[in-house]
Symmetry: C2
Subunit: 338 residues, 2 copies
């Protein structure tokens, strides 16, 4: 089967780039020094490739992701790198056994929810500058004591410097990441434990403070991360078909807002031309020459919410060479939803 046999729109990925990205990361962050973030690709088939590369611990953002990873046999050390008040389903997974699940907590309420549901291990989630989850660094010790007093094991701390992840200036990104991680280290001194978890694709190299890096997007990258000076290459493409052309100089592709996310900007065309706009099921492009029926590739600007719109990623030998490549493997996106 070839990509030309696929119904469009369809997500295809370059297997060589995927392999190289995974190997590049594993060479600098081998084994447990990387805790790949499943939220980026929501696929146990992709997780399997990371297991094959030597990683055995994973981050999840949702309980659905935890459930799927345990079911697929990748539950030996999972971190819900997110707060939840609904830990009951995690407790049920733990009762079924054959898995280890650590949950991020940042408040008395999330500690209580973890205890109530039968969770055994937590990390104290610390705010290191991103306006999102995490307690303030000076509360970390207090919450850790409360968690321990409730019978929880506190494995350490986590803190995600997401506000620095896309800074194009590498020196500033590095400096700010160091400042940000100083907060996490201070919190860790108060909390203790083996784990300092944080970071992501954008700070994979400049974050030297964490014991484990929470990166996921690096596997196939996206337009937004590709603006940075990273060694990882873009390998994901929305394959579309030109369904209409106009003498006014534009053409229309059969994939749009339901097939890729534009929160980080419009997709980029593989090859000539520019995107004018995306609508629900279409993308209108210009400044190029296309014929009806031609296949055209779009590079998504943001990998995570784009993959979450699809049932499958089709792996091909090499995308750049031909849009009509042989299909090597189909990765099911089986961890969508909540």
């Amino acid at each position: 089967m070839k990509t030309s046999d696929l119904t469009t729109p369809a997500l295809i990925a370059d297997s060589k780039i995927l392999e190289t990205n995974i190997a590049t990361m594993a060479s600098k962050r081998p084994g447990r020094e990387l805790r790949p973030h499943v939220k980026a690709f929501k696929s146990t088939a992709m997780a399997k490739k990371l297991v094959d590369a030597g990683h055995e611990t994973f981050c999840c953002a949702t309980i659905r992701e935890l459930e799927g990873m345990v079911k697929a046999g990748f539950g030996s050390d999972l971190l819900l790198a997110n707060e939840t008040l609904d830990a009951k389903r995690i407790g049920e997974l733990l009762v079924e056994g054959n898995c280890r699940i650590t949950v991020a907590v940042d408040s008395l309420e999330t500690i209580d929810a973890a205890v109530f549901a039968g969770v055994k291990e937590v990390l104290i989630d610390v705010n290191v500058g991103l306006q999102r989850c995490g307690c303030s660094p000076d509360e970390a010790g207090f919450l850790s004591e409360k968690a321990k007093a409730s019978g929880l094991k506190v494995r350490g701390v986590m803190g995600y410097e997401g506000h620095l992840m896309h800074d194009p200036n590498v020196r500033r990104r590095t400096e700010k990441t160091q400042e940000s991680m100083e907060l996490l280290i201070l919190a860790h001194e108060a909390v203790g434990g083996d784990v300092i978890s944080g970071g992501g694709t954008g700070t994979w190299e400049c974050n030297q403070a964490v014991t484990e890096l929470q990166a996921g997007s690096y596997v196939l990258m996206d337009g937004d991360y590709s603006k940075l000076d990273l060694p990882f290459k873009e390998g994901l493409l929305l394959l579309t078909t030109v369904i209409s052309t106009s003498k006014s100089g534009y053409a229309v592709l059969d994939g749009g807002l339901k097939a890729l996310s534009v929160d980080s900007g419009n997709p980029k065309l593989l090859g000539e031309g520019e995107v004018i706009f995306c609508s629900d099921e279409h993308t209108t492009i210009t400044n190029g020459s296309w014929t009806v029926g031609q296949r055209v590739g779009l590079r998504p600007s943001h990998i995570d919410p784009t993959i979450a719109k699809h049932e499958f990623i089709y792996l091909v030998e090499e995308i750049e060479e031909s849009l009509d490549a042989e299909l090597l493997e189909t990765l099911k996106i089986d961890l969508r939803g909540w």
Copy 2:
């Protein structure tokens, strides 16, 4: 079961508003004068409500939608209001029988694809000003002749004035819609047939030219359409849980870019407060007072790509009164994908 039993994020909808929106539209556009657009809600359970309101013809944007509608028994007169080069699956549906499917064509290539696949009936899709599909009005007669010469029945024309759909100035929207529809009427004079199909929720009243209106978003509306002077009310809500609060004055909800689309702007909070930003699985809000564990509702800005991210919509008696309402019905979003 109540909304408090739902895992968040979850889409809930107000059944009274849904009922009123459907009735309001049906009173002005009864039966076949409306051809509801399935793309807005991607659910045969929702389509059933429109059948119950007297509509029996539907628009689809994708072949998956056509297949699902036929399987659900709503295939008596379906229009693929979109071009396709991949009509083979439509041909297979027609061979299986018990359905009537008309396909939009705007080029010799799409006519050939329809003929090749065994499609019997088409509409000539005419560009009425939106930079998307549709032949130029003066080509419509030529394409119609070509289609007829190829053995296709040409039922008429369609033209979608999507570029006018969200104009907040009702007088300008009306005038521009009339100008736009004059192009469609000219094309219809050259093409013939019973059908002049077009329009949408934003032009439901000012478009008097079409024999059938292609509206879908009106059933539950969204933040973008609610800026207009329409009698339809917003009835869709993303139910989320506050998972973290900060002394710096913000709170974090457990639903973000994977649960709602921000292509038309950030969601609005039901009740006090404002959205600062959405990230993959979170929305950070401010200017209000929230406690961890509290349920908070977000009004999506764009209904179509938001619903397409979910497996279900949960219908409740009335959203405004309480976020802990009894669940009346679960609508499966069964027409996602392509």
